[in-house]
Symmetry: D2
C-alpha cells in the first residue's frame, strides 16, 4: 500500500487501522515558531469523533491526540510533527466480533478489494485501514494546516448540503459559517436540519442508511494558487476529497450543472470591486485554469449511504467462493455525512497550505 | 509552475504552450521490448486534433508526433520516451491576433489567474499553457499507456454522455464501444447524436457554446489496483480527470446520485459468476475502498461550455483595472465535449497503468 | 524540514528528536503476508543502542520498538507499518543539562545551522533532530528491508574498515561476515581491532575523539538494479549514506583510488564463471552505469570524529554574537564508528529493496 | 528506467541517448519574469561540448540548444522550459560502427548492466542513455539554475584538482576562480596543468586513459539550506554528483581525511567576523548537520579513467556467453576530467537552487 502521503511541501503521512494499537501521523513542512498544542488539534478531533449523537456510531473513543515530536514548549521547531491517537476500542472483545465474518464480503465495503490486493493476510478487523477511522489522523493534520492558513487570511467552512434527499437552501456565507457546526446533522438551516434528522432516524429504525452531499467553502484564498497542468488546485482538491472513504463524486462551483449551461451563462463576468478584480458570479467555484481566482473556493462531495446496514443482504463467502448472506452486528452510523464535515475541511486545508507553500517556493527574488 | 508530471512509476512529464514552438513530453517507466511507432501514437492524436468538423475549432494543425528517444528500430529500449509535436499554427500572424487583447480578462478563461500567479510575463498568447492544446501531449502519452494495458486485457472507451441538455440513453458496453467514436459528436446513440449536433450548431449560430458530460469506461481492469489512503484509484482518477481544462466535476459509478440513495439500494450485491466473484450491480463504478473490484470502472466528467464565445461580454482590463468588454475574434469550438473523448481515455489509461505498475512493485516473492 | 522520507516504492518516513517523547517511523510498500515481529526488529536496534561499551555514550536507552500498525497476528497486512521507540532518557533532569548552553555553538555540531534555518524556536536539546538518535528509526526500518531482501538472496555486512588511523587488512568476504559484528569496535581482524580499541580509549582519556571508515558489502544483489540517470543505484546509495550524520565522504568500489588509475587497470575484465557472466576484479564495486553488475556492492563511508569532546574549544554565543568557549558536559562516544555499522547496513538495505521493487514495477508482461 | 527527474521544486527531467535523434529536457519551477535566451545556456554547453582539444573525443557536435517552451520574447513565463539539443553525429554511418560489437561487453562500461536490466532491446549504440552525452542536458538545466542563484549571490566554480596522479596545489578561491576554466585541462595552476596535459597525452599515445578528481566550490550560499534527515544538502549533493557517469566517490570538505583526524582537529572553531558568525577552518565543507553554514561548500568527485581505451582487453560475448576480446574503434576521450567541470557545476547549481526554493516554501508568514 503505497499512497499514505499527501502533499508536496506540506506533507502528511499516515498509518493505522481501525483496530490496531493506534493511528499515527507525520506532518512535514511546518515552519518553526508556531504555537501548537494538543488541545488545539483536539478541538477538530472532537468534532469528528464517534458516539456523539443518535445518528452516529456507538463506538467509544476519546480520540486523544499526543504530539510525539516537532514541538518544544508548545511551539513548533521546524522538525516533522509526529502525532499518535490510541485506538481505545481495540480490545479483544471488540475484535472478536469480526472474526466470524471475516471471509464474508460485506456489501459496499472494501472487504473484497483488500482481499484481492493483499490476500488472506489483509487486516480483516472492521476492514482495517479501509475503515473510516483513519480519517481521524487527516483531521489532526488538517488542524495544523488551518493554523498555517490563518495568517494568510483563509477560513474554511463545511456543512451538510443534502441528506437523505433533503437539500439545504441557498444562504449567505456568513449564515452558513455561523450555523454550520450545529449537531447532530451540521446543516445550517434549522428546518432542513430537522427534516434531515427525521429521515436519518427513520433510516436507522429501518436498519438502513442515507447518503448526502457535503459542501466545503474556503474564503480568503489569495488568487494565484495552483500548479498546472496536473497539480491544478481543483485536480488536487478532487484527489483530496475523493480519497475520503465513501465519496463517489466531487464538483467545483457549478459542477455538474455546467453540462446544461451555455457559455454565456457559465462565464463569470469580471468587474472592479473596490479597486480590485472580482467576479459577478462564481460558477467557477473560485478556480480557473486550475488556479485560484480569489473568490470563494466551493467544493461539493457526494457521500454514499453507510454500507454497513442492519438489513440482511445477499453476498458471498470469498474464500470458499459460495453464496452467503450478511447482516451487520457491529457498530455503525445510519449516515456519515455529518461526520464528514471536519474531514472535508481538513482535506481542503491540507491542499490549500500545500499549494500556498508551493507558490512561495517559486517567488522570484530580483537582484537588488 | 510545478505540476507537469503525472504518475509515480509510469510517469508523464509535459511542457509546451498554445503558440510556442512545440509541445514536448517525456514518458518514463515503459519497459524495454515493446513495439512502438509514431504511427500508433498518431492514431489517437488524430482523434483529438482540431479542425475536424463544423463544431470544432478552425485551427489547423497536423499534430504530427515525433519520437526523439526511448526506441530503437521501432521497439522501446527502457529509456524515457521523448515526444515532440510542433505547433504549426504558431506563426506571427496568428500570434498577432492576441496582442491587442492581452490585458483584457477573457471571461471563463485562465487569463486573470495566470496574471495573478505569473504577472506581466505570463504567456498571454491564447492563454499559453492554459490553452487546451497541452492535452495533445496527454493523448500521445495515453497511447503508450494503452499499449501497456492491452496485454493485461484492459480496454478503454469514452463517449459523449450528454451535450447541450441532450442525454445519451443507457446502452450496453458493446454498443457503446462499437459506436463511441462516430464523428462529429461521439455519442453512440444516433438519435441523441443528431439532436446534440443540432443544438451545437444552433449555439454556434448564436455565438454561444454548450457544456456536456463525458463517460469513460475501463473494462478488464483486474481487481486489486489502488493505493489507499491518498492514492486510491478513484482519488487519482479524480485528479487525472479534473486536471483536464474545463472539467468541473468528476463522479464514479452512481456518483452524485448516491446522495439520494439508501444503503440497501446502493450496496452492490456480490455473487458467484462462473466461479468468480462478481457484483449484481455496479453503483461502485468498479472501485471500493479505493481499489478496483474487477467490474467496469465508470467515470463521468462534467465539461463546461467553451468559455470563448462570439457574444460581447462584460469584463475588465486587468492591467489598467478598469471596465471593458470582450468579444472573441479567434478560433474556437462551440463545444469541446467531443474532443474530450480521447483526452479522457488517455488520462484513464495513464492512471491505470501507473497503478498496475505500483501493484507489481509490491508483489511478494516468497523464498523458494 | 522537508526531507523525512527515503525511497520511492519502499518508503521510510521518520520523525523524532533526541529528547522528545519518542521516535516514530512509517514504512510503506511492504507486501502482505510476511512474518514480522518486534523481536526481529529489536535485534538490529540492540546492535545500535548506546551504552554497550567503554567507547560508547553512557546514555541509557532500552530502545524498545513497538509496531503500531501494519501487522496482524505477527504477519504484515500490506498496510503501512508504524513504529515507535520511546525516548526513556528524555527526562527533565537530562534536558536541563542542555539549557545553559543552548545559545553556544557546539563546534562540529549542527547548533548554528539549525539556528540559521529555524531560529530561536529550533529544538536545542542535544541538537534535537540533528542528534544521531534519529538513526534508531533507520535501523528499525532497515530490519524490515532486510527481511524483504532475504528471499531475493541478498545479504549485507558492514564493519569498521579504519579507526583512528588503524586500517583493517584486506580479507575474504566470508571472514568479514563471520567476525564483523564483534564488539566493541566491530573490526573483523582481531589485531587491528585491538589497536583500534587502544586508540579509542586513549582518545577518550584525552577528552578527544576519533574518525574512521565503515565498509558495507551487499552480496547476492541481482544484476539490473538502478534507475538512470538520476536514481542510479550508486547515486541513491551515496545519498543514503551521506544522509547519516557525521559522514563526510562516500565511495564505491575502488572509490577515490580511481583518480590515480589507468583505464587498463581500472576496467574489470568480464569472463564466464560457471556459465554466468562475472568480473575478474571489482573496482566498480558492483555498479556500472548506475546499475548493479551482480558482483558484491561495496561502499565505504568516511566518518568524522565525534564532534562532542571534553576539551575546551573556542566558539561563539550565537544569540549575543560574542566569543565564548565550550566544553562538553553531557554524554558522548569517543568514536561513533562502531555504532555506524548497523546504520550503514540499514541504509544499504533500504536502498536496495527500493530499487528491487522499482525494477519489479517495470517488468514487462507479454501478451499470452 | 525511472530516475530521469532531479529536484523537488526546481525539477529537471531529461531524456535522450547518445545516437538517438535528440536530447530533451524539461525544467520546472522557474519563476516568471527572468530574461533567458538560448545564447546564455549555450555558453555552458560550449564548455562541455566534445572535440575541443587533443585530449577530448573527436565526436563533432555543435550542441546547439533550442528553447521549445517556457519563455516569451526572451523572458520566462513560469511555464516549464523545454529544451532540445539535436544529435548531429547520429548518422547511419556512425551508428554502423557500433553494430558489430553490440553483443560484446565493453569493459568498464554499462554494456552488461543495461543488457541485464533491459535485455536484447536495450539501446546498444554507444551505450545509449548510459553514454556521457546525456550530461549535455544537465549542463543546459544547470545554466538556468545558475541564473536563479545569481540574485541570491551564489557563484560556483569547478576545476581539475587531480589528473593522472598530478595534484593541483592549494590556492585561494580568487585564483581558482580566475584560472579554473583554462583549456585543455581546466586546472588553475599552470605548472600542474602542464604536467597533467603531458600525462594525458602520454596515456593517449599508449591507448590508455586517466582518472582524476574534480573540486566544486559554491561561494555565497546562505546558511540554512538543507532538509534533514534524508534530503540533507550533502546527501543530495552526493546523489547529484554520484549520478554523473564515471564518478566513483564524493566527499565534502575534509572528506575521507576525517577518518584520520581527531575531533579537536576536525571541529571548525566558530568566531565573529565583522559581526557575523564565521568559522576559522572549513573542514565541514560548508555543511553541518546537512545544512549549509554560510562558508564555501566544497565537494570533490573521484572520476574514473575513461573506460573506452584502445588497448585490447579480455571480455565476453554476453549473448553467446563465450570469451572474447575488445579493442575500441570509436571516438573517445583519454580523460573526461576536464569535461566534467561544467557538469559538476551544473549539478551543484541544480541542487542548490532546489534547496533554496524548498527553504523558501517553508518561510513563516506571521499574522500582521
Amino acid at each position: 500500500m503505497l499512497g499514505n502521503t499527501f502533499g508536496r511541501v506540506f506533507r502528511v503521512t499516515t498509518a493505522g487501522e481501525a483496530f490496531g494499537p493506534a493511528l499515527v501521523g507525520i506532518v512535514e513542512g511546518v515552519p518553526a515558531g508556531i504555537p501548537l498544542t494538543e488541545a488545539e488539534i483536539q478541538r477538530d478531533l472532537d468534532r469528528r469523533k464517534p458516539g456523539q449523537s443518535a445518528i452516529s456510531t456507538p463506538r467509544q473513543e476519546s480520540d486523544r491526540v499526543r504530539i510525539l515530536s516537532g514541538t518544544l514548549d508548545g511551539v513548533t521547531t521546524g522538525a516533522p510533527i509526529a502525532l499518535v491517537i490510541d485506538n481505545e476500542w481495540a480490545t479483544l472483545k471488540h475484535i472478536a466480533a469480526y472474526a466470524d465474518e471475516k471471509d464474508i464480503i460485506k456489501p459496499g465495503h472494501a472487504t473484497y478489494t483488500y482481499f484481492a490486493k493483499f490476500g488472506v493476510h489483509r487486516d480483516w478487523v472492521a476492514d482495517g485501514r479501509a475503515n473510516g477511522r483513519e480519517t481521524a489522523m487527516r483531521v489532526a493534520a488538517g488542524a495544523i494546516a488551518k493554523k498555517l492558513l490563518a495568517p494568510i487570511g483563509v477560513e474554511i467552512v463545511a456543512y451538510t448540503k443534502e441528506l437523505g434527499g433533503v437539500r439545504c437552501p441557498e444562504m449567505s456565507y456568513e449564515r452558513i459559517k455561523e450555523h454550520a457546526d450545529e449537531p447532530p446533522v451540521r446543516c445550517p438551516d434549522p428546518e432542513a436540519a430537522e427534516r434531515m434528522l427525521e429521515r436519518a432516524l427513520d433510516a436507522k429504525a429501518k436498519g438502513d442508511s442515507l447518503g448526502g452531499i457535503v459542501e466545503v467553502i474556503a474564503r480568503g484564498v489569495p488568487a494565484g494558487l495552483g500548479e498546472p497542468v496536473f497539480d491544478k488546485l481543483d485536480a488536487n482538491l478532487a484527489r483530496a476529497m475523493m480519497s475520503i472513504g465513501s465519496v463517489k463524486g466531487v464538483e467545483i462551483g457549478a459542477g455538474f450543472a455546467v453540462a446544461g449551461m451555455k457559455g454565456s451563462e457559465n462565464n463569470d463576468p469580471p468587474y472592479i470591486r473596490e479597486g480590485q478584480i472580482a467576479f459577478r458570479t462564481n460558477n467557477a467555484g473560485g478556480i480557473l485554469g486550475g488556479i485560484s481566482t480569489g473568490e470563494d473556493i466551493i467544493v461539493r462531495l457526494a457521500v454514499k449511504p453507510t454500507p454497513t446496514i442492519a438489513l440482511e443482504q445477499e453476498t458471498v463467502d470469498m474464500v470458499r467462493r459460495r453464496s452467503s448472506t450478511f447482516r451487520c452486528k457491529t457498530a455503525t452510523d445510519p449516515t456519515i455525512v455529518p461526520r464528514m464535515i471536519p474531514i472535508a475541511e481538513a482535506m481542503m486545508a491540507i491542499t490549500l497550505i500545500d499549494h500556498a507553500m508551493l507558490a512561495r517556493s517559486q517567488e522570484h527574488r530580483k537582484e537588488s
